[in-house]
Amino acid sequence: MGKYIIRRFLWAIPVLLAIITATFLLAHSIPGGPFDYAGEKQLPESVRQNLMRKYRLDEPIYVQLGLWIWDALRFDFGPSYYSRGQTVNDILRRTFPISAQLGILSLLLALLIGIPAGTIAAVKQNTPLDYTATFVAILGVSIPNMVLGPLLIWIFSVHLGWFPAARWGVDYTQLYLGFFPPLTHKFWSHAFLPMITLGTAYSASIARLTRASLLQVIREDYMRTAKAKGLHGFRVIVVHGLRNSLIPVATVLGPMFAGIVTGSLIVERIFGIPGMGRYFVDSITNRDYPVILGTTLVYSVLLVLGNLLVDLSYAWLDPRIRYD
């Protein structure tokens, strides 16, 4: 097991290097540079060249790449060209916790709703309960978060006035575990709508997967054995059935993890959340190379870690799987 983890980490290094190199080359090949304009005005050529020299953008491209990687190894992602006076580290430190709150909460919500709903639907197969769950799930999978967000705002903020429509994560100074502000009433009222918007699609697809795979597992021999031993029905399903049937769920959690980031890009926009998502797009539009690379690196590391956790969870879910 330990060997496997080490091997996976070693394999992650070339992958991350390749991602960074590809991003770097692609970003630099987009025509235009970071200092072409100051506001609406075009900068004089001499000023532009001085700026380019200051940020060492006049060096050959492989030198720039090497310099960036060298700095990144010491967790220094460089200055932002566009948001003057801020480094990429500042931006990440400010925005990442907020995006992480949103991501973690929606993922938890998705699991907490999706797995029980899928289990109930599978156990009560072909009953009205099952049909309702299946129908709601397909509805949930189909409604995009860029539609669900405005819809929820329209219903719950504009008409009913139950929740605020924006201003999440604005004035919190103290964070627990580096991520979470005090979980007060105020926090939840801000977090509720974005969390639902982002979590719905995932809980629906988790419910569908859980139902489908639990239906297959229920027919296995060991389930009959467990029942024949006289175990309680609930215990058979949860302990013997559910654990095995969660493997497909674990498999999609990897891509889902990546999808949470995309989704949060939209959700953060709609709900005006000052998270990391905005910088993904804005940095590309502004040719803010260090920010592009910094956000991409954070995202890729999370993706690699997520995939690793998924693979490790297989062994925990199904003891027949071994990594040697």
């Binding site: 390749a18 991602i19 189909s142 860029m146 539609v147 819809l151 926009r269």
Partner: protein, 295 residues
């Protein structure tokens, strides 16, 4: 019992799917106005205004016509991206599965490698690249591409970006299917009869693996539609005034408090389309996958 539900689902899906391209065929009749025709005096009219059945947006453009034209954008993305990814993925997967284990190993390592990539960032970067090149005025090969793109309202580059990056899952599936089919007796029989590799692939392997691949691709279609809407939402998709639902939503969600219909109508269209494709995919899967039938 389940079969009946399945048939109802399949029929429902088929109907919606047939209805949508029909809307596309009859479009000049259905859409009452051109999608880019503005009307300064009729800005932000609510649904039901005479002449504007679903109201107008902030430039006085007819929402009904724009939504109907948006169908064309979403469905063409759906079909083109699906076809490209099916053809590329199937070719790659079958070649990998049918070749010697060494070649297979190399080809699949490459796919694994790409699988760890944050594809979304690359789609965004590619789109930014295409947009900037097209704005800067390219010559030569890129010049031709930007011409095509401009003629298609910015859709062409969306096709390329989606098609380039979405064949990976299909390649994995096709390779797995090929590997399992390759060992069957009828392949051996065909080989004993002296059939060439090409003939075996086209006459024996492809027909046997195409089913699951098509199902998989149909299930992926809502994803393509949503990716296009996402790209347009962040301003890197189609070029305005081409009416993409994602663009329409991103243009109007901030005025939700005052003019909710401007945002919710294209949203409803987007939701119903993905819903229809999900039903179709599920129906197809249940119809073609014998393991799930009759339960």
């Amino acid at each position: 019992m389940f079969v009946i539900v399945m048939i109802i689902m399949a029929i429902f899906a088929d109907n919606s799917i047939i209805a949508l391209p029909l809307g596309l065929e009859v479009k000049p009749l259905i859409a009452t106005k051109h999608y880019a025709q503005t009307s300064f005096r009729n800005r932000d009219k609510p649904p039901g205004t005479p002449g504007f059945p679903l109201g107008t947006d902030y430039l006085g453009r007819d929402l009904w016509s724009r939504t109907v034209y948006g169908t064309r954008v979403s469905l063409s993305v759906a079909f083109v991206a699906a076809t490209v990814s099916l053809v590329v993925g199937l070719t790659y997967g079958v070649i990998a599965g049918f070749s010697s284990p060494a070649v297979d190993n190399i080809m699949m390592r490459f796919v694994d490698f790409l699988y760890g990539f944050p594809l979304l960032i690359f789609i965004i970067l590619l789109q930014a690249y295409f947009k900037a090149v097209s704005r800067a005025g390219a010559t030569g090969f890129m010049g031709i591409l930007t011409q095509i793109d401009r003629a298609m309202g910015g859709l062409f580059f969306v096709f390329i970006a989606l098609g380039l990056l979405n064949w990976i899952g299909m390649a994995r599936l096709a390779r797995g299917q090929t590997l399992s089919v390759k060992q069957r007796e009828y392949i051996e029989a065909a080989r004993a009869l002296g059939a060439s590799n090409l003939r075996i692939v086209f006459r024996h392997i492809l027909p046997n693996i195409i089913g699951p691949c098509v199902v998989q691709e149909t299930l992926a279609i809502p994803g393509y539609i949503l990716t296009e809407a996402f790209l347009s939402f962040i301003g890197l998709g189609v070029t305005p005034p081409t009416p993409s639902w994602g663009l329409m939503i991103s243009d109007t969600y901030q005025a939700l408090r005052v003019y909710p219909w401007e945002c919710l109508i294209p949203g409803a269209a987007l939701t119903f389309t993905t819903l229809a494709f999900n039903f179709l995919g599920d129906g197809l899967r249940d119809a073609l996958d014998p393991r799930l039938r009759g339960s």
